[in-house]
């Protein structure tokens, strides 16, 4: 068993529910125990555009709590991940901000020593669990399924350990499940999730480009990161965007842990698959039949 302190982030309790269900189910299979960080609060991510200090201070509150557990802090949401790592880097490197953050946290008697280890799940799957172990858990090989792995931005930029231009870890996971990874150039392009409310037309065009790119390269489904923003943005919005052929996009959007769960032989309900808005069963049916 491998133990982590788990920081779900706000959206994992709402739009991210399907992802959370699949993370829980897959973790069990892989002998990962996630102990939710008690009393965690918003990581401050949405605020960094407008107030860096505020954002770093809110993130550091959570880093300090995680530090006390002595465990690696596992963060599924790419935005939270990026913001927590960012705060840790700024705290350790920028004296001016560190002093101000310390002063702000002192108001509530919190002190951060600077030793938290923030990890994302892909990193843990690849480096702590290993592809061979993942492959050994496969009950339904996803043979013949052409999976386009989408990474978005924050999982690997600016600090993630995977390549920031063309990350590969999710493709490697898809391959170990028996699927065929599909390369598409926009795999790490931003989906615009942060601006979805304020700049809808811009975000729709970004989504169009990504979905179109997947189609052109023959992807039958798109496997997202575990970021609820990327997931919901792609899953819930594509019905509003016309594809090149003038019809609506109908790309199945599946969180990478949902895909793993299907291959591990878990049931659709355990993986939250019934909550996906895009037509996922269409492509997954042949692999779900085994234990429907």
């Amino acid at each position: 068993m491998k133990y982590y302190t788990y920081y779900p982030g706000c959206a994992m309790e709402t739009t991210g529910k399907p992802i959370q269900a699949s993370i829980d189910a897959v973790s069990k299979v892989l002998n990962i125990e996630l102990k939710e960080l008690p009393d965690w609060t918003c990581c401050g991510c949405p605020g960094e555009s407008i107030n860096e200090l505020m954002s770093v201070a809110l993130a550091t509150r959570n880093l300090a709590l995680a530090e006390k557990t002595g465990l690696d802090m596992l963060v599924p949401c790419s935005c939270c991940y990026r913001n927590l790592v960012n705060a840790h880097v700024i705290f350790t490197e920028d004296r001016r901000i560190r002093d101000q953050v310390k002063e702000a946290l002192a108001v509530v008697n919190i002190e951060y020593k600077g030793t938290a280890r923030v990890r994302n799940l892909m990193d843990v799957f690849i480096n702590d669990i290993g592809l061979d172990v993942i492959a050994s858990k496969v009950q339904n090989k996803l043979s013949g399924l052409k999976v386009a792995s989408y990474y978005g931005c924050h999982q690997s930029r600016p600090y993630g350990p995977d390549d920031f231009e063309f990350p590969e870890w999710q493709d490697q996971i898809a391959e170990s499940l028996g699927a065929t990874p599909v390369f598409f150039p926009l795999k790490a392009q931003c989906c615009g999730g942060a601006q979805l409310f304020s700049q809808r037309d811009m975000v729709h065009k970004l989504l169009y480009k990504i979905l179109d790119d997947v189609e052109r390269h023959g992807g039958q489904c798109l496997a997202t990161t575990l970021c609820p923003l990327c997931f919901t943005n792609l899953d819930a919005n594509q019905g509003r965007i016309k594809s090149r052929a003038g019809t609506r996009f109908e790309m199945p959007i599946i969180a990478v842990t949902q895909l793993m769960g299907v291959a591990f032989g878990l049931k659709p309900a355990e993986l939250g698959l019934k909550k996906n808005i895009s037509p996922v069963t269409k492509v997954l049916d042949p692999y779900l039949k085994v234990r429907a």
Binding site: P46, E52, H154
Partner: protein, 190 residues
């Protein structure tokens, strides 16, 4: 026009004093950031040009432009900048100044930030409350277009109609935010 703000002599000094603006004078104007920018087609002045304009002291023009508010914070510019400048952070420093000084760019992004900040005060963000607040203060008609989306999320239990239960930390979060704001108002923090 050059203006003196918070004791900083010029606009470029002012930006350099913001977190993220520190390295602005090391920019070599290579244009890698603009060439990489995911949303550059929406920018009136692309990132490289914004930097040039700041250094040229075009305060008014930079702060009233919608450009920086098109940034989706994807960090492509940042990982590629040959000078290690972190243009994404620098762009956010510009947004921060514009927001603080009450500039009203023609994009609703600033209002989104404000309703987010309000949501953050509760300790955990409640999306529906945030969205409602944002649409009510920016553009209700624009917001109505999202109703079908919200309903389809609600049907699946993915968009709770009540705020999340308060955690112990929410009081701490509010206290931290108050303190940061007080420090920034006092001028010591920026």
């Amino acid at each position: 026009m050059e203006t003196t703000i918070r004791g900083a002599k010029t606009f470029v000094d002012e930006v350099a004093a913001e977190p993220g603006g520190e390295k602005i004078n090391e920019c070599i104007q290579c244009g890698v950031c603009s060439g990489s920018c995911t949303t550059v087609e929406w920018w009136e002045h692309p990132p490289r040009k914004i930097i040039a304009m700041i250094r040229a002291g075009k305060r008014e023009q930079v702060l009233s432009s919608t450009s920086a508010f098109n940034c989706v914070t994807c960090y492509l510019c940042t990982v590629r900048c040959p000078r290690g400048i972190k243009p994404a952070q620098l762009i956010h420093a510009v947004e921060a100044i514009a927001e603080r000084e009450g500039y009203k760019p023609k994009t609703p992004t600033i209002k989104l930030f404000r309703s987010l900040r309000n949501a953050m005060r509760q300790g955990r963000v409640w999306e529906l409350g945030m969205a409602l607040r944002f649409y009510l203060t920016s553009n209700i008609l624009y917001g109505l277009k999202d109703v079908p989306l919200a309903l389809s999320l609600m049907r699946r239990g993915l968009m709770p109609i009540f705020p999340p239960k308060k955690v112990k930390g929410s009081r701490e979060v509010a206290a931290i935010m108050d303190k940061v704001e007080a420090m920034q108002k006092a001028g010591g923090a920026q």
